[in-house]
């Protein structure tokens, strides 16, 4: 029997781990895209929305931000099953994480919009732009610059939060690693390997964010 080293074990586990990375990436992508779209809507409602609607969004945001993600995930996972809504753990996880991230994104968008000086919006009104035009050509381009740093942070947080779905049995990178470890007992080596993979993934997102920030840095006021 060939000697069992970390490298041979890693080679044996390569497909499991690669699948794990794929699931982690897929989860993160769904969550980030969904929460960005919903968060943009939420942020707009918070700033410009009809009062009761804004209050409702505010309530949602404040409730979501006060509850741990893990509780939200377990709530969704067990709660949906209770009402005979039979969806895979993967989608229960996406819903829970996206719901959580939407609250954060709404707050980020609200902050960014409100940080655009009032003079900008007034000037846009003065030259006769309609609401949507003001938003499209004046407010949002400037808000984008403010949104980027916290948006990148939230994206990184979400990649990290996908690990929590291992608890409800989504075989993402962490659970794939744990299953590998259960087979070969190389605890330290494989957790370190997983750590490294997450680090690479998140560091890449951070770098990408920094790149985008530089790209948008020309918009100063």
């Amino acid at each position: 029997m060939a000697e069992r080293t970390f490298w041979t074990e890693l080679w044996n586990a390569k497909w499991a781990l690669l699948d794990g990375i794929a699931i982690t990436t897929e989860l993160s992508a769904y969550v980030v895209v969904a929460s960005t779209i919903l968060g943009l809507l939420g942020g707009l409602v918070l700033v410009y929305g009809w009062r009761p609607a804004a209050l409702l969004v505010r309530l949602y945001v404040d409730v979501m931000r006060g509850i741990p993600v893990l509780v939200l995930i377990l709530f969704w996972y067990y709660g949906l099953a209770l009402f005979k809504i039979n969806i895979p753990a993967f989608w229960a996880g996406v819903i829970a994480l996206a719901g959580f991230a939407t609250a954060h994104m709404s707050e980020i968008v609200r902050g960014a919009i409100q940080s655009v000086p009032a003079g900008q919006s007034e000037a846009a009104k003065a030259i006769g732009l309609r609401f949507w035009q003001r938003l499209r050509y004046v407010i949002l381009p400037q808000a984008t610059r403010r949104v980027l740093p916290p948006w990148v942070n939230t994206a990184v947080e979400m990649v990290k939060a996908t690990t929590l779905l291992s608890i409800i049995g989504v075989v993402e990178l962490l659970l794939a690693t744990q299953q590998t470890i259960a087979r070969n007992y190389m605890v330290i080596q494989f957790y370190l390997a997983a750590t490294l993979l997450y680090f690479i993934l998140n560091f890449a997102i951070s770098r990408l964010g920094a790149l985008l920030e530089r790209r948008f840095a020309y918009m100063r006021y």
Partner: protein, 222 residues
């Protein structure tokens, strides 16, 4: 089809356990915050020191922690240390260790920003009245830095409190673990998770409120 009959009896029967679990969570968060603050201060001073290698080491620690999922770190410390021959920690201690290291990385950044925002004149004035370097740090820099960073410290405490829910993964009997047990034992899904959510929410806001009072007392007027 969506009918659900609430039965809160299970919650009331388990109430002492739930309260204990909640207090354990708060304890874990506070302990980690305190240790994390100490780590953070040391790291922040290390980063502004003249030694390049120290700066670089601490930078890698901070980046490593900030880009790694907390759950992975928890498992790594809990399952990895015993394999390396370190069996000194039970699961609560190992969780506090992990959360402290995690908090330390975040606090390091907070304190570094705090140190950077101390007006230069303060240090110069302290020099002028003849304070020694350690006296300058202890009596001038640190108090001012704490006041400046107080809002960030309270935010960190709240997020640490929410992060204590991850201790459920290594069977530390805190609130999430207890709710999960009630859920598993009684199938009172809604009651278990609604009360856990409500308690987390209430505690987070209570912590925020108390810390706001502290901030109002100590914050610097700038």
């Amino acid at each position: 089809m969506l009918a659900y009959n609430f039965n809160w009896d299970v919650i009331w029967r388990q109430w002492p356990t739930i309260v204990e679990a909640l207090l354990l969570g708060i304890g874990l968060a506070v302990a980690s915050l305190v240790i994390g603050c100490i780590i953070g201060i040391l790291c922040a001073f290390g980063r502004v020191s003249r030694h390049k290698w120290l700066d670089w080491t601490i930078w890698s620690y901070v980046e490593f922690i900030r880009n790694t999922p907390l759950l992975l770190l928890i498992f790594f410390v809990y399952f990895g240390l015993p394999q390396m021959g370190i069996r000194a920690f039970d699961k609560i201690e190992s969780f506090i260790l992990t959360l402290s290291l995690y908090a330390g990385a975040y606090m390091c950044e907070v304190f570094r920003a705090g140190l950077a925002s101390i007006p230069n004149q303060y240090v110069e004035a302290a020099k002028a009245i003849g304070l020694r370097p350690w006296q300058r740090q202890l009596y001038v820099v640190l108090p001012v830095m704490f006041r400046i960073t107080l809002p960030s410290i309270s935010n960190t405490l709240i997020s640490l409190f929410k992060d204590t829910s991850l201790a459920a993964a290594i069977a530390v009997p805190e609130l999430t673990f207890t709710a999960r047990q009630i859920n598993a034992n009684t199938f009172r899904v809604m009651e278990a998770w609604l009360s856990a959510s409500a308690l987390y929410l209430a505690t987070s806001y209570a912590i925020a409120w108390v810390l706001r009072l502290v901030e109002r007392r100590y914050s610097v007027i700038r």
